[in-house]
C-alpha cells in the first residue's frame, strides 16, 4: 500500500504537516515544529525506500488519483530525481532540525516560519517529482512563494530583498507560462512524456526555438544563473538564518533539473537548434563562473561571499548541460548533489557561528577552529570541496564535467573550469587563513556549554554534511552508475 503510493506520499507528508502546524503551535509552542520535523523525517525515510525501488525496478510512473495519464497529473520518478528527492528531504530535514535554534520569540511567527518551511520542502519535492509541465509551474510557485516569505522573515533588509525577488521571480514564472502556452498550443498536451512524443513526430522546431527563448530566462532567473542572478546575493544573505541552508543549497537546483527535463527529455536531440541553445547556455555559464568567483573575492561578509560563490557554482551545473554528453550530464547532477551539501554545510556553519557569537563578518573568524573544531572542520572540508581538491565531492563532479568537455573537444570549458577552481581557491583559502591563522578577534560567546561546542540540533547537520561531502566523493562511481541509468541515451 505504502510502497505503491510512495511518490505522492513523500510530497503529501510535509504538506499535511504544514496545514496543521499553525493549529498545533496554538496549542503548544514547539508542537507544530515537532510535527514538521517528524513529517520531513518520514519523507526522508520514504524517499530512501523509493530510491531503492527505482534502482531495482526502473522508473516509477504514478498517476495521481488514477486519472489516465495524458489527462491527469503524473509523477515520474527515475533514478535522477529519486536521488535528488533524497537530497532535498535530507537537507530539508537537517534544516528543519536546526532552524529551531533561530526561532522567533513570538509563537505565531515561530509557527508560521515552520509552516512555510514545510511548504517550501513540499514545493521542492513536488518540482522534483512531477511529470507534468503545468504541475511543475504550480510547485515552482509554491516554492517561490514560501521562499519570499522566508526571506522576508530575515529582518528589514530581508523584506526588501524578498520584495525584489518576488518581482523578478514572478517575471520568471510568467515567462515560464508563456513557454508552456507555446508548447501546449503546438502539442495540446501537458504531460512531459506525451509532449516529447508529439514533438518527436511533427516538425516543431520553430515552436521549440521560441519556447526555449522564454524558458532559458525563466529557469535562469529561478536558478540565479548569470546574467539573471541579480536578486540572488541579497536574498540569500538576508534570508531567515535558520532556513538559509535549504534556500541557498537546494532551491536553485530544482529549476536546473526542470531545465534539464525540457532540453534533454522533452525537446531531445531531434530539436535542431538545441546545440545553439546549449552554446548560449555555455557562454552564460562560462561568464557566470568567472564573474561569481571574482565578485565573491571582494566580499567581507561570509554570507555574501557564499551567495556569490553560488552564482559560480550553479554555472558548473549549466556548463554540464551545455556540454550535453551523458558523462558531463552525470557531472552536472553529481555537482547538484555535492554542491547542495557543500553550500548547505557552509551555511550551517555560518549559522552556527552566528548562533554562538552573533557575527557573520569574515574578520571575526580568527582561530575559530580552536573554539569550534567541528564547525571549523566542516568549513575547511566544504571549502576544499568547492575548490575541487580530491577526494571531496567537488573534485569528482569537476572530473566528469571536464571529461565530458574533453570528449566534445570543448577546450575552453576545461580552461574555465581550471581558472574557476583557482579563483575559488583564492577566496576559500582566505576563509581557511582566517579560520586557522588570523588572531582571534574579541567576539563574545552568546551560548556556551562544557561538553559540546553547539547544541545537538546544530551539530547533527554539521556532521551529516561532513560525511556527505566525503561520501559523495568516495562513492561517486556508484552514484554515477545510478545517474547513468536515466542518462544513457539522453545526451547530445
Amino acid at each position: 500500500m505504502i510502497e505503491s503510493n510512495l511518490p505522492v506520499l513523500i510530497i503529501l507528508s510535509p504538506l499535511c504537516a504544514a496545514l496543521i502546524c499553525m493549529l498545533l503551535t496554538a496549542i503548544h509552542r514547539e508542537l507544530g515544529r515537532a510535527v514538521v520535523v517528524l513529517a520531513v523525517l518520514v519523507s526522508l525515510v520514504m524517499s530512501v525506500m523509493q530510491l531503492r525501488l527505482v534502482i531495482d525496478g526502473g522508473p516509477i510512473h504514478y498517476a495521481i488519483g488514477n486519472y489516465a495519464v495524458p489527462y491527469g497529473i503524473e509523477l515520474v520518478i527515475d533514478s535522477l530525481n529519486a536521488l535528488i528527492i533524497v537530497m532535498i528531504s535530507l537537507i530539508g530535514f537537517l534544516t528543519v532540525l536546526s532552524a529551531g535554534n533561530f526561532s522567533d520569540r513570538r509563537p505565531l511567527v515561530h509557527g508560521a516560519a515552520n509552516t512555510i518551511l514545510a511548504l517550501l520542502i513540499t514545493g521542492l519535492l513536488g518540482m522534483a517529482s512531477t511529470g507534468d509541465v503545468f504541475n511543475l509551474y504550480v510547485f515552482l510557485e509554491i516554492t517561490s512563494l514560501s521562499a519570499y516569505c522566508l526571506i522576508a522573515l530575515g529582518g528589514s533588509r530581508g523584506v526588501v530583498s524578498a520584495y525584489r525577488y518576488l518581482l523578478v521571480g514572478t517575471i520568471a514564472a510568467t515567462l515560464y507560462l508563456i513557454g508552456v502556452a507555446l508548447l501546449y498550443g503546438a502539442t495540446g498536451t501537458l504531460n512531459m512524456g506525451d509532449m516529447a512524443e508529439i514533438l518527436d513526430k511533427g516538425d516543431h522546431d520553430n515552436v521549440m526555438l521560441l519556447a526555449s527563448c522564454f524558458l532559458i530566462p525563466a529557469f535562469g532567473i529561478k536558478m540565479a544563473l548569470f546574467p539573471f542572478h541579480g536578486w540572488q546575493p541579497s536574498a540569500y544573505t538576508h534570508a531567515e538564518p535558520g532556513t538559509r541552508p535549504l534556500i541557498s543549497g537546494v532551491m536553485g537546483k530544482l529549476p536546473a533539473l526542470a531545465m534539464f527535463r525540457y532540453f534533454y527529455c522533452i525537446f531531445g536531440t531531434d530539436f535542431v537548434y538545441v546545440k545553439y541553445m546549449m552554446a548560449v547556455l555555455g557562454v552564460f555559464s562560462v561568464i557566470g563562473m568567472l564573474y561569481g568567483s571574482i565578485m565573491a573575492m571582494w566580499q567581507s561578509d561570509i554570507r555574501k561571499m557564499l551567495a556569490y560563490s553560488s552564482v559560480a557554482q550553479i554555472s558548473y551545473i549549466s556548463l554540464g548541460f551545455a556540454v550535453g554528453t551523458p558523462v558531463a550530464l552525470a557531472g552536472a547532477f553529481l555537482h547538484m548533489l555535492g554542491h547542495a551539501f557543500m553550500k548547505g554545510g557552509l551555511f550551517f556553519c555560518t549559522g552556527a557561528v552566528r548562533f554562538k557569537y552573533g557575527t557573520a563578518d569574515l574578520n571575526d573568524f580568527g582561530r575559530l577552529y580552536k573554539k569550534m573544531p567541528l564547525t571549523g572542520g566542516l568549513l575547511t572540508l566544504a571549502a576544499l570541496s568547492m575548490i575541487g581538491i580530491p577526494p571531496t565531492a567537488g573534485f569528482f563532479s569537476k572530473w566528469y564535467l571536464a571529461l565530458g568537455a574533453a570528449g566534445q573537444h570543448e577546450w575552453i570549458y576545461i580552461a574555465v573550469l581550471v581558472i574557476s577552481s583557482l579563483l575559488n581557491a583564492a577566496y576559500f583559502f582566505k576563509l581557511i587563513e582566517k579560520l586557522f591563522i588570523q588572531k582571534s578577534s574579541g567576539i563574545r560567546e552568546r551560548w556556551s556549554s562544557r561538553e559540546l561546542e553547539l547544541p545537538v540540533t546544530l551539530l547533527v547537520p554539521i556532521v551529516v554534511c561532513f560525511i556527505a561531502i566525503l561520501g559523495i566523493g568516495l562513492c561517486n562511481a556508484w552514484i554515477v552508475d545510478v545517474l547513468m541509468m536515466s542518462l544513457e541515451g539522453v545526451g547530445l
Binding site: 558523462v327 552525470a330 576544499l384 575548490i387 575541487g388 581538491i389 580530491p390 577526494p391 573534485f395 569528482f396 569537476k398 572530473w399 566528469y400 571536464a402 571529461l403 568537455a405 574533453a406 570528449g407 576545461i414 580552461a415 573550469l417 581550471v418 577552481s421 583557482l422 581557491a425 583559502f429 587563513e433 586557522f436 591563522i437 568516495l474 561517486n476 562511481a477 556508484w478 554515477v480 552508475d481 547513468m484
Partner: protein, 506 residues
C-alpha cells in the same frame, strides 16, 4: 631480512596499510593531541613510523623479484579504479620516505620541544598526513590515484609552511599555494585530456601514450601541462621561488619539504609523467624532454651561483636543493637506463645528505639561535659532532666518492655519455665543484682555528634527540655510498626501474 612473520597480511594489502597507518596516525593526533600527554602524542607518531617502515621494507623482496603486486580497491571514478601497486621506482621513494619519517620524527620532537614551539599537535598531524600522501604517491598505480595523493600532499603541506602564523608565514603560504595549486589544476586538465584521448590511466613502464593519440603540438603542450606540476614542486627554475620562501617554516618542516616528501614528490611526479605516461620515445619526439633537460641544466648552474651569495644558512641550503633536484630531472630527461637509475638513486642519496644538512642547521639554530653563516665563526669547536656531520654531508652533496651522491651522479654521467651529451656531463662536473664552493665555506668558517668566538662559550653540543638522527642520517649517506645495495637493495631497484622502462622485455 625476513618478513615471514608478517605473512598474515597479504602482500597486496601492505601498500594500502602503509598509507593508512600514517593517515590514522594523523587523525588520531589531531583529535587526541590536545587532550593527552605530549609523550603519548609523539608515541603515536613514532609507532606509526615504525609500522610503516616494517610494511614498506616487507615489500622489497617482492619488488626485487619483479612480482606483480596490485590492489584494485574500488572505482574512484567511472572506468578508473583506486589502484595501488608496487614497482621498483615507487619502492625506492617509499623506502626513503618511510625511513626518513622516523628520523625526522625523532628529530622534530627534539627540535619542537627544544624551541618551545606552539601548535605542535597540528604540526605532527600535518606531518603524518604528508607522509601518508607521499606513500600513496609511491604506490599509486594510475594517474588519477596519483593525482589524488598529489593534491592531498599539496594541501597537507600548507599548514606546515604557515606554521608560525605570522605575516611572513602567511605570505609564503600564499606563494606556496599559488604555485602548487595553479600547477596542480593544470595537471588536472592534462589528466582529463590524456584520459579522453587514451582511455586508460594505468602507469606503464615506457609510457602508454603514443604519437597518434596526441599529435605533435598537443603532445608538447600536454607534456608541459603535466610535467609543470612536477617541476613546480621540484623547484626547477623559473618555477622555484616558493621553495626559498617556504624557508620561514621550522627547520624540520624544511627538512621534510626538501628531503623527505614534497620536492621529491615533484621529482617523482616528473619521473612518472615522462617515463610512465609519455614514455621515452614520445617524450623525445615531442621535444619536451630536451627542453626540460635544458631547463634543468640552467637551474643547476644558476642556483649554485645564487646559493653562494646567500648568507642565511637555510636559504643557502634551499638553493642547493633547487640545484640538486634538477639533477634528478636532468637524469630523467637524458632518457637512458643508467641516467634513470641514477636519477632514482639520487632521490635516495640527496634525501639522506640534505636531511643531514638541514638537521644540522636546525640543531645549530635551536642551540645557539644563529641563522647566518657569518655568525657561525668558531662554532665547530662547540658542536664538533653536528658540524662534522654537516661537513660529511657537504662533501657528499658535491659528489665525492664513498658518499651516496657519488653513486647517483656517476650513473647520471654514464647515462649522459651514453646518450652523447657532453654538455650535460660538463654541467654535472661543474656543478659538483660549485656545490663544494658554496657548502665548504660554512664548514671552514665553523672550524676556523684561531678565533674563539665569545658568543658560543655557553653552548655545548645539541640535544641528543636531534643529534642522534642527524648523525644516523650522515652515517647512512656514507654507508649508501660505499655499499649502495646494503640491506634495502635500493640501487638494484633503481637499476631495475631504469631497465624496465627502456627494455620492457627484460
Amino acid at each position: 631480512m625476513s618478513f615471514n612473520w608478517l605473512s598474515w597480511l597479504p602482500l597486496e594489502y601492505r601498500p594500502l596499510c602503509a598509507v593508512l597507518v600514517s593517515l590514522c596516525a594523523s587523525g588520531l593526533i589531531y583529535v587526541l593531541g590536545e587532550h593527552v600527554h605530549r609523550n603519548l602524542r609523539e608515541g603515536i607518531t613514532l609507532s606509526a613510523a615504525v609500522i610503516k617502515i616494517i610494511l614498506v621494507y616487507s615489500l622489497i623482496p617482492a619488488a626485487l623479484a619483479g612480482n606483480e603486486v596490485k590492489l584494485e580497491l574500488f572505482r574512484i571514478v567511472k572506468g578508473v579504479s583506486f589502484a595501488l601497486s608496487v614497482d621498483p621506482a615507487g619502492m625506492v621513494f617509499a623506502c626513503v620516505a618511510a625511513t626518513l619519517w622516523l628520523l625526522t620524527s625523532v628529530y622534530s620532537i627534539g627540535y619542537m620541544r627544544g624551541h618551545g614551539e606552539e601548535n605542535q599537535t597540528g604540526y605532527f598531524a600535518a606531518f603524518a598526513m604528508c607522509l601518508s600522501a607521499a606513500t600513496g604517491l609511491c604506490f599509486a598505480a594510475n594517474l588519477l590515484t596519483f593525482f589524488i595523493f598529489f593534491e592531498v600532499l599539496t594541501v597537507a603541506t600548507y599548514p606546515l609552511v604557515v606554521h608560525y602564523r605570522d605575516d611572513e608565514a602567511v605570505a609564503s603560504g600564499r606563494k606556496y599555494l599559488a604555485y602548487t595549486l595553479i600547477s596542480g589544476q593544470i595537471f588536472f586538465a592534462a589528466i582529463v585530456i590524456v584520459y579522453a584521448v587514451s582511455g586508460t590511466m594505468d602507469f606503464k613502464p615506457g609510457g602508454f601514450l603514443t604519437a597518434d593519440m596526441l599529435p605533435m603540438p598537443w603532445a608538447l603542450i600536454v607534456f608541459f601541462m603535466m610535467v609543470g606540476a612536477g617541476i613546480v614542486k621540484a623547484g626547477v627554475m623559473p618555477l622555484h621561488s616558493w621553495l626559498p620562501a617556504a624557508m620561514v617554516a621550522p627547520t624540520p618542516v624544511s627538512a621534510l619539504l626538501h628531503a623527505v616528501a614534497v620536492v621529491k614528490a615533484g621529482a617523482f611526479c616528473t619521473l612518472r609523467v615522462v617515463l610512465y605516461v609519455f614514455g621515452p620515445e614520445l617524450a623525445k619526439d615531442c621535444g619536451g624532454a630536451q627542453l626540460l633537460a635544458w631547463m634543468a641544466v640552467f637551474t643547476i648552474i644558476v642556483s649554485s651561483f645564487i646559493a653562494m651569495r646567500k648568507t642565511n644558512l637555510k636559504a643557502r641550503l634551499a638553493f642547493s636543493t633547487v640545484g640538486q633536484l634538477s639533477y634528478i630531472v636532468l637524469g630523467i630527461c637524458i632518457l637512458t637506463p643508467f641516467s634513470t637509475a641514477g636519477a632514482l638513486y639520487h632521490i635516495v642519496a640527496h634525501a639522506f645528505m640534505k636531511i643531514t644538512l638541514f638537521m644540522a642547521a636546525g640543531a645549530i639554530f635551536v642551540t645557539t639561535h644563529k641563522k647566518d653563516i657569518t655568525e657561525m665563526v668558531g662554532l665547530g669547536r662547540r658542536m664538533p659532532v653536528t658540524m662534522g656531520a654537516f661537513a660529511a654531508a657537504s662533501i657528499g652533496i658535491a659528489g665525492f666518492p664513498f658518499f651516496a651522491g657519488f653513486v647517483s651522479k656517476a650513473n647520471i654521467i654514464f647515462g649522459a655519455v651514453e646518450a652523447g651529451q657532453p654538455l650535460f656531463v660538463a654541467t654535472l662536473i661543474a656543478s659538483a665543484l660549485l656545490a663544494l664552493a658554496y657548502l665548504m665555506p660554512v664548514v671552514l668558517i665553523a672550524f676556523k682555528k684561531e678565533v674563539d668566538n665569545p658568543d658560543f662559550r655557553e653552548f655545548g653540543e645539541a640535544n641528543p634527540r636531534m643529534l642522534v638522527p642527524l648523525v644516523l642520517a650522515a652515517v647512512l649517506s656514507a654507508v649508501l655510498g660505499i655499499a649502495p645495495n646494503l640491506g634495502l637493495h635500493l640501487f638494484d631497484l633503481s637499476l631495475m626501474a631504469g631497465n624496465s622502462i627502456f627494455d620492457p622485455l627484460m
